[in-house]
Amino acid sequence: SKWKESLVERTISRKTTNLMQLVYGKSETKPDDSSHEDIDADASDEDDEFFKPKSEGNKKSSKGLEGDEVNTDDSSKFTNYASIKDWKDGEIIESIRDRFVTGDWSKAAQRGKAADNDND
């Protein structure tokens, strides 16, 4: 019935925003890195120790997926070594057969169609 439709719609919209939240953050469009001038909170402790050793571990922190870290490496190249598979294996190679012209053409066509249907 009618009331159910709106519920379904709402669930779908909630699901799809997840990826958008990941990219754009939870709140509104306020850009997160263009912040106003902050006064350093630890400015007052500076008298205690004139020299402060900077932790080396801090700067070598991993290039996290979050991308929230400042000063990460600036490179567009993405090489996915993590999910590299043994493509010499017969079964694994058959799993992407349909993405090649030597595979099943109707399955490839379906891939394209699925996209057209659920959008708009």
Binding site: N18, Y24, D33, G67, N71, F78, I96, G103, A108
Partner: protein, 377 residues
């Protein structure tokens, strides 16, 4: 003179893209805290070099860097373009690092751009010049960039650490704006092309790489051609190295590419490179690169992971039409690009995962950037 209001940013991440977007959207920016805590603080040589490059191709732009290089003020000018320009990219990053923003910038110039870039042509960190020719330039054409005047010529190759390569990039200007795309059909892979190269080593390295890569493709596709490009003498640059780039072309005109380069790393930059790594043998290189290409194909999407950033950027620069594209998994650089696009151009994408294929659909309305530099003449 009126006071300029600067957009305030922090950190060194995405410096190239921020500068590029600042130039395109004529937004002056002020970046603070650039590696303030690092052992070598401030801007790195390649970043300064990129700023010099911006000054070369544009007029009336203003760059101010503080003493330690941790603070940067940039007021964009007008992109002029022009012929017979030259730029030394240095040796801290490869030419690919400079090409990526430059091709977009060139499109919105006053005159067509033609520039000679010197430095490292192939390197594992940035897309190689071969990938640019085989995958990046076709991507631009999708968005209505005229194909005449769009080319990258490799005069000589050079790998790390000493470089010595040289390429000439020509970018035409777009006369009004780009063309929005609906690009969701990945098609099926119909052929695989590639090019291997070797500088100051035996051509046998290339043959071994190609043989190993072909061994993996053979069971999937007969149409595989990998060309060799053995350089000798002055054309081979100053350091030994070898590498291979592959591109899979689909029935719907998508190009999925991967590349790799094997060479010695620079010794001067990092203190702890006493233990010189053994170079990866060519047979493993060939197998690995073929596996990576199949991985990209498996993931789906109309482009490979490396080109996500450029794809999103072009979509956002389109006129106020809907662009719709499909990619595989979102990669960190792609996500960063989406955020930068929102901050500078005010374009937000609608991002929808597609569980059936494991791909992601992105939709946006372009910001309608016109080539204003051209109108002035």
């Amino acid at each position: 003179m009126g006071k300029i209001s600067y957009m305030k940013l922090k950190g060194s991440q995405n410096l190239r893209q921020r500068l590029l977007l600042a130039t395109l959207s004529s937004t002056p920016i002020l970046i603070e805290d650039i590696r303030a805590d690092a052992t070598w603080p401030g801007l790195l040589p390649h970043e300064v070099s990129f700023l010099r490059l911006l000054e070369t191709v544009s007029d009336d732009c203003h760059v101010e860097i503080n003493e330690t290089g941790t603070k940067l003020k940039y007021k964009p000018g007008i992109v002029m373009g022009g012929r017979y320009l030259e730029h030394d990219c240095g040796l801290s990053r490869s030419i690919g690092y400079f090409l990526e923003p430059l091709i977009v910038l060139g499109l919105f110039g006053k005159k067509p751009l033609s520039i000679k870039l010197k430095g490292i042509t192939n390197d594992p960190k940035d897309p190689s010049v071969d990938t640019f020719r085989s995958a990046t330039l076709p991507l631009l054409k999708r968005f209505g960039v005229p194909s005449e005047g769009l080319e990258l010529k490799i005069e000589s190759r050079g790998v790390a650490p000493k470089g010595g390569g040289e390429v000439t990039l020509s970018v035409p200007i777009i006369h009004n704006s780009l063309k929005a795309v609906t690009w969701t059909d990945e098609g099926m892979v119909k052929r695989i092309r590639g090019i291997s190269f070797s500088t100051r080593v035996s051509v046998q390295f290339e043959n071994t790489m190609i043989h190993a890569a072909r061994g993996i493709f053979n069971r999937l596709l007969p149409d595989v051609h990998i060309y060799t490009d053995h350089k000798a003498g002055a054309q081979a640059g100053n350091s030994p190295g070898y590498g291979i780039s592959l591109v899979a072309e689909t029935t719907s005109g998508c190009f999925v590419s991967v590349d790799t380069t094997i060479s010695y790393t620079r010794g001067n930059d990092d203190m702890d490179i006493d233990e010189r790594k053994e170079l990866m043998p060519p047979e493993e290189v060939g197998e690995e690169i073929a596996s990576l290409l199949l991985g990209e194909i498996e993931q789906g999407g109309v482009i490979d992971s490396t080109h996500q950033g450029l794809l999103f950027l072009l979509c956002a620069l389109c006129p106020q039409d809907i662009s719709k594209v499909r990619v595989g998994k979102l990669v960190p650089y792609g996500i960063q690009t989406l955020r930068n696009i929102r901050d500078f151009l005010g374009v937000k994408f609608v991002i929808k995962p597609e569980p059936a294929t494991g791909t992601v659909m992105l939709k946006c309305i372009g910001c309608g950037l016109k080539n204003l530099s051209r109108k002035l003449s």
